[in-house]
């Protein structure tokens, strides 16, 4: 790696980590969460970047090299559908197979009448979450895995071998990707590790959102106990993937915690307590959490304000970012706030105006990272993402 590139990398890492400590770096860091946008820019279809992770990596690197960004995620098209099909997971619609090749992958809710976990199975999950996932959940969500007690099969055995080795290859490839981003464009890998809230896991992958809504009324104590049983495992998984140097945060991708999915009372009772403990547990280990608050989270600000100072980087989607800044800007670095529909349907001038408003409103004292409100798919116009980048570079200098 050239000395020049190493210097650029060091500058960018310093800029990014300084902002995340809620301090004032030399400039506002730019860290876009770009998913299928990278495919559009680099000339790939959604199918190509979703099913072939080497193409996804290449697309991310091309964007990093061409745009003056400080940090990117190695691959934001997070579900590698090659692995999905090898394991036989039933809950995705895949571009180029179930979907047109230029449509992003779709997550499918568990069937309402036959969720992946039945309402009378909470005790099994609570008793041994890992055992339940292996023995009950995986056979239900996979076309390849045989249920316990039934005759095993060649396909059953293969799915574990293939799945395990493919997953290992994929995760190891992120290390190579991080190194290439650093060497080729001096770009920081923005995140390390993954976390989801216990409530979101139960909703998305086990009971379904509607099923869990019924459970909150019919068996609330079981829902709480299930969240508590999942909590140490999700903490362990997040910590095991975290940055060993403790520079970049773990990505927490939240789903059903905001209005209108949950009322603030339901949030306080069911969603928050175990998630808060996980975030605090990570912080005790020196690990920051990227709190991706997709949707409208401002009604929950009083709970989020309970978290230790600097323990999260608060990413704003539909919430009023100025209100967020007023409530918790003294505690946490903020990111995001440039609306995705503006990047998709607005003009570069609209985007520049929005960036200026946000920078003036929340970034004057540091502690802000420029990004769109939500993960950018292929609807974001290239000229608008350029405008967001270039304006921030000119105007976002301290």
């Amino acid at each position: 790696m050239s000395a020049e590139m190493e210097q650029l990398y060091t500058q960018r890492m310093d800029r990014y980590t300084t902002a995340m400590r809620n301090e004032k770096p030399d400039k506002i860091p730019i860290r876009p969460f770009v998913a299928e946008f990278t495919a559009k820019y680099a000339g790939y279809t959604a199918q190509e970047v979703t099913h072939d992770y080497q193409k996804a990596f290449a697309a991310a690197r091309k964007c990093a090299a061409d745009f003056d960004w400080d940090a990117v995620v190695g691959n934001m098209v997070y579900v590698w559908t090659g692995l999905v099909k090898a394991i036989g997971l039933k809950y995705y619609a895949v571009p180029g197979i179930e979907l047109p090749p230029d449509t992003g992958f779709q997550y499918l809710e568990p069937p309402e009448d036959n969720a992946w976990m039945q309402p009378d199975e909470y005790d099994q999950l609570i008793e041994d979450p890992t055992g339940f996932l292996f023995n009950v959940w995986l056979p239900r969500v996979s076309t390849e895995v045989s249920p316990m007690g039934e005759t095993t099969s060649y396909r059953n055995n293969l799915s574990f071998v293939k799945g395990g080795m493919a997953m290992m290859n994929y995760f190891n490839a992120f290390g190579t990707q991080a190194d290439l981003l650093r060497r080729e464009s001096g770009t920081v890998s923005a995140l390390a590790g993954i976390l989801k809230a216990p409530f979101d896991i139960i909703a998305d992958k086990l009971r379904g959102y509607k099923g869990l809504c019924m459970d909150m009324f019919r068996q609330p104590d079981k829902v709480l106990a299930a969240c508590e049983a999942m909590m140490p495992h999700l903490l362990h998984v997040a910590a095991s993937g975290a940055d060993p140097d403790r520079n970049v945060p773990v990505g927490l991708w939240m789903h059903r915690g905001c209005v209108p999915f949950l009322s603030p009372d339901q949030f306080e009772r069911f969603y928050w307590p175990t998630l808060k403990q996980i975030i605090e547990g990570l912080w005790e280990r020196g690990i920051q959490t990227l709190f991706y608050a997709e949707g409208e989270w401002n009604p929950n600000l009083k709970y989020i304000a309970q978290l230790p100072d600097l323990s999260i980087v608060y990413h704003v989607d539909r919430g009023d970012i100025f209100e967020v800044h007023k409530a918790v800007g003294h505690k946490f670095c903020l990111s995001g706030g440039i609306p995705n529909d503006l990047l998709a349907f607005g003009t570069p001038e609209d985007v520049r105006d929005c960036c200026k408003k946000i920078i003036d409103g929340v970034a004057r004292d540091g502690g802000y990272i420029m990004d769109a409100s939500a993960i950018m798919q292929d609807d974001s116009k290239i000229e608008n993402v350029k405008a967001m980048t270039e304006f921030t570079r000119e105007y976002g200098v301290y």
């Binding site: 579900v79 996932l133 995986l138 993954i194 896991i201 140490p232 495992h233 362990h236 998984v237």
Partner: protein, 56 residues
């Protein structure tokens, strides 16, 4: 004889070392190495299922 309560399985573990140890003959060498490597590889199995759940 009263049935022993099954110990809770900790995060990072599929088959606890103590259970595996009972299946092994006398270990003539360094038991610490055997235990460490068992736990490391067992942890990979644990991560497989939890990463299927969380990441995919």
């Amino acid at each position: 004889m009263a049935e022993q309560e099954k110990p809770k399985i900790e995060p990072g573990v599929c088959i606890p070392w103590e259970e595996k140890r009972r299946e092994l003959p006398e270990i003539s060498g360094d038991e610490g190495i055997v235990k460490q490597v068992w736990e490391d590889v067992d942890g990979l199995g644990y991560l497989y299922i939890w990463q299927c759940l969380v990441s995919f």
